[in-house]
Symmetry: C2
Subunit: 344 residues, 2 copies
C-alpha cells in the first residue's frame, strides 16, 4: 500500500512535470541572476492563474543553485502589485510584463509567454472584420504573435497597425486592464484583440469608442464585446450615487496602484460642495473589507478594473474618479470616460 501510494504520487508528479516543461519559467536565467547579484533570498511572485506552479519552480531553482526561496502568498493580479517586502534580495515576478515606469533593480520579470497558436482563431475572426484599417491589441502572453497576425490580416487584404503605449506599457500593441494607450495611439476603423478574458477587449472598446473583435485562442472563440451595455450599467450606478451624501474614497497601497493625491483631491472637492467624504487606504480591495466603512457610495482610485468588473459584488455603488466628478457636479454627466492609469 505504501509503495502504491508512492507510485501514484510519483506518476502524478511526472505528469505535472511534463505539463510544466511546456511552460518557460526561465529557471537557468533566474539561477544566473541569483549568482550575479549574490542574492541569498529570492522571492517568487505568481499571479493567481500560475500560483500553483510555485512550489515546483522553487524546487527547480534550488536544484540549480544554493539559495533560499520564498513564495509570495498574497493575491496578485498584475505587474502593478510587486511584493517588495524587505525579506528578499531579489523578487522574480512571473506572468506579467514589467511596467516601465515602476522599474526597480531588485525585480526580474518572467513573462511566461503562451505558445498557443493564435492563427486559427484569427482566421475565424476575419469573417467579422469590416476594416479596412485594423488596430491590433493583445496582452503580454501573445505579444510575440502580432507579426504573424499582421501578415494574416494583410493576406486577407486588410491594413493593420500596432500602436506604442505610454510609460506604463512595455510592448507595442500591449494593453493592460488600466491602460489602453497603445490602442488610442493609432487611427484605425476597428480593433482586433487577440487573447483570453473579456475585460481587455471591453476596455479597448470603452477607451476608443470603436468596434472591437475579440479572438480568444484558448477557447477558440470570437466575439464582439458590447461596450454600450457596460456604459448603461455605469450610468445606472452613477444615477444611484446622485442621492449619496457620504462617500468613502479608496486609495490603494499596492506599488503601481497608488493615487493618494487624487484621493485627497476628490475628498476636498466633495467637501467643498457640502458632501461628507473620507479616505481609506487599502491593500486588497474586496467587498468584505468595505463592510466596515459606512458610505452611500465608494470611489475607487486603485485598480480601475475592479471598479467595473466587480461592481456587482459591492453593496453600494463603486465609482471611478471620473464618474465621481460627474456625481458631485464637477464634470458633465454626458462626458463619460474610462478610468486609466495613464502617463501624460
Amino acid at each position: 500500500m505504501t509503495s502504491n501510494h508512492i507510485d501514484s504520487h510519483a506518476s502524478a508528479e511526472d505528469a505535472f512535470e511534463r505539463r510544466n516543461l511546456e511552460m518557460d519559467f526561465e529557471i537557468e536565467r533566474i539561477a544566473e541572476l541569483v549568482e550575479e547579484r549574490r542574492a541569498r533570498v529570492v522571492r517568487l511572485q505568481f499571479p493567481e492563474g500560475l500560483k500553483r506552479y510555485g512550489p515546483y519552480v522553487a524546487k527547480r531553482i534550488r536544484r540549480q543553485i544554493d539559495v533560499t526561496v520564498l513564495l509570495s502568498g498574497n493575491p496578485c493580479y498584475g505587474a502593478c502589485d510587486l511584493d517588495l517586502d524587505a525579506e528578499a534580495d531579489l523578487l522574480v515576478h512571473f506572468g506579467h510584463a514589467e511596467i516601465p515606469e515602476l522599474a526597480a533593480q531588485s525585480v526580474h520579470f518572467v513573462e511566461v509567454r503562451s505558445d498557443v497558436d493564435v492563427i486559427p482563431v484569427v482566421n475565424e475572426a476575419l469573417g467579422l472584420i469590416r476594416g479596412p484599417r485594423v488596430g491590433l491589441v493583445t496582452n503580454v502572453q501573445h505579444v510575440h504573435t502580432l507579426g504573424s497576425v499582421r501578415r494574416c490580416l494583410e493576406s486577407a487584404g486588410l491594413q493593420s497597425s500596432v500602436g506604442s503605449g505610454d510609460g506604463r506599457i512595455k510592448y507595442p500593441g500591449q494593453v493592460l486592464g488600466c491602460n489602453f494607450s497603445s490602442a488610442r495611439a493609432i487611427d484605425v476603423d476597428e480593433y482586433l484583440y487577440v487573447g483570453g478574458g473579456t475585460f481587455h477587449p471591453l476596455g479597448v472598446a470603452l477607451a476608443t469608442g470603436k468596434r472591437v473583435i475579440a479572438a480568444d485562442p484558448f477557447l477558440h472563440r470570437t466575439s464582439i464585446p458590447d461596450a454600450n451595455l457596460i456604459v448603461k450599467q455605469r450610468y445606472a450606478l452613477i444615477t444611484k450615487a446622485l442621492d449619496a451624501r457620504t462617500f468613502c474614497v479608496l486609495a490603494g497601497t499596492k506599488t503601481g496602484q497608488r493615487r493618494l493625491d487624487l484621493a485627497f483631491e476628490l475628498v476636498e472637492q466633495a467637501m467643498e460642495r457640502g458632501y461628507d467624504a473620507y479616505t481609506v487606504t487599502i491593500n486588497e480591495l474586496t467587498p468584505w473589507t468595505l463592510y466596515q466603512f459606512p458610505a452611500e457610495a465608494y470611489v475607487n482610485t486603485a485598480c480601475p478594473r475592479v471598479t467595473i468588473d466587480d461592481a456587482g459584488r459591492f453593496k453600494a455603488p463603486i465609482l471611478t474618479p471620473i464618474e465621481f466628478e460627474m456625481v458631485i457636479g464637477r464634470r458633465a454627466l454626458s462626458a463619460y470616460a474610462l478610468d486609466e492609469f495613464a502617463i501624460s
Copy 2:
C-alpha cells in the same frame, strides 16, 4: 421627503454621537500629537470591532486640527499588526496596548479601555474559585480594574496575585493571544480571567496547565474553559499530519508576526528528514489564500491564535511550529506545548 430624509439622518447621527461620547478616543491628545510632531498626514488604524467608528473619529480630529486623516482599511487583529505604510507621518492605533518590543516613535496607541463594571461578574465567579492562590489575568480593555478585582477576592478570603509579562506585554496581568508570560510568571493554584472572548482564558489554561475561571463582564457569564478538549483536537490534527510528505511553512509579514528564521529552520529540518517543504510569505492568512499552495499539512509561524482558533476552516491540518516538530520526529509526541511569541 428630502427634509425628512435629512432629519432622520441627523437623528441617527446624534444617536451615534451619543454612543461615541461614551468611548474615549482621546481626540484632544491626538490633536496635540499632530501639532507637536507637525504631522501633515495621520493614519488611524482600528481593530475589526471598532472600525466602524473610524469615519466619525476622523471627522472629530479634523474639527480640532487641520490635518489630512487616512483610515486604514486592512483587517487588523492586534498591536502586532501596525499599518506603517510610508504615506502617513503618524499612525494612531486604537483598541490595543503597545507591544513594548515593537515600540516605534511614529505610532501612538489609544487603548480605548472599557468602562464596564467587572465586579458583578467577578462576585459571581467567586462561587467557582477554589483557591487559595489565584492569579489574575485580563486583556488591555480591563487592566485598570485588576486593583478592585484583587480587593474583591481578598475580602472573600482569597490570595490573589498579578504577574509581570515579558517584552511583549505592557501591563501586569495582561495576556495576548500569543503571549501568556504574565500568567506563567506567578505561582498560583488557579487563574481568574476577566474579559470577553474564549481564546484568552483557553490560552492561559493551555500555557499553564492550571484551572482557569473566565468572567465575562459583557455577557455577565462565568465559565471554565476545557483545555483538554483543545489538546485532543490538536492531537487529532497532529496524527493526521503524520501521513504528510509535503509541508507548506507559512511566514507572516505583519510587523509583530515575523518569524522567518524559524520558518527557514523548520523547512531545513523537514528536508533533512526526507520530507518536502517550502516557505510561503503571507500578509493576511485565510483559508482561501492557501488554496493555491498544495500541501498535505501547513505550518503557521505567524499568529498562533489563527492556528488553533481557526483550525477547522482550513482544508488540511494547520500546525504550530512545536506541533510540526512532533510530526517530523524532532520532539517527543507527548511534549505538547503552546506556541507563543515569547521574549527570552
